[in-house]
Symmetry: C2
Subunit: 139 residues, 2 copies
DNA sequence: TATACTTGTAGTTTTGAATGTTACAAGTTA
DNA sequence: TAACTTGTAACATTCAAAACTACAAGTATA
């Protein structure tokens, strides 16, 4: 069980725009070729990043640019852009309300899980994209 | 996108054994009725908890007991018992090896993601089941 | 204006994991 | 032997992710 590849793909997209945006028009086909997925997936993801105010997309003419510098974009920003805001774990939906455990499991365990999610989000927020980019320039 | 209900279900199971084990024989049917899922799901989960040395199952006669006290069982123990050990995020599988980003995205971002996973696991480990049980006794 | 290229998005298909269900062999007790 | 339970195989169902096709609409430029 793991999270979808949307955050990795979105991160990939942003890094490509940063590294290649100066020399190329970064279209959905260009990105699809680097990421290795269908251009429509790229366009949908770009739509999510646009709504989160992370990128600007030039409709018609084509091409994409970043709206923030890399040190202002965290993995949490990307996570929120491409994933639903929901509990970290899916809860079984029919616990027995006549059982002390069944009646309260969602509230009690759910509270703890939400605490864990808060910390998880803080950890994601502490990682900015500029901490990744150096490794790509070297290669 | 969220984790499966296996950790919530396994936690539910352990709490029921603790609370009802003295007065009832806690069979897979008994547990299925409290959790609200099929008894076979319960048996599979009990198998995972048994392999993790968290419970003992009496084959033939039926019934289950805890092998540790609640203050010795953390959400991380349960998480490891019921979930695969893998990256937190699924990575796109065909990044372009001729692209600086595509060639290194898995290694670079993967490293950061593993750091986040380590912290996530520490947070889960800090939550022991005895911190949950009081709320159920009250109700 | 016509052409070429691009984005946005609807609609459909494919794939894979989670979950549900049936069935039955094997263990245990009385 | 009868009654009950666990362990597990096999198959069905459900649901979300991802792939793909198609096309309307935006934009630049010849």
């Amino acid at each position: 069980m793991q999270f979808s590849s949307r955050l990795p793909i979105a991160t990939h997209i942003l890094l490509v725009i940063q590294l290649y945006g100066k020399d190329f028009k970064v279209t959905s086909d260009f990105l699809a070729s680097s990421v290795g997925v269908n251009p429509v997936i790229i366009r949908k993801t770009l739509g999510q990043l646009k709504r989160a105010n992370l990128v600007e997309v030039n409709q018609g003419i084509g091409g994409t640019t970043l709206k923030k510098s890399l040190d202002q974009i965290s993995l949490l920003d990307i996570f929120h852009a491409v994933e639903e805001d929901e509990d970290l774990f899916h809860f079984h939906e029919n616990p027995n309300p006549n059982c002390a455990v069944g009646k309260n499991i969602h509230a009690v365990l759910g509270g703890k899980i939400r605490d864990v999610k808060s910390k998880f989000e803080k950890d994601l927020d502490s990682i900015k994209l500029d901490s990744l980019i150096e490794k790509f320039k070297e290669s």
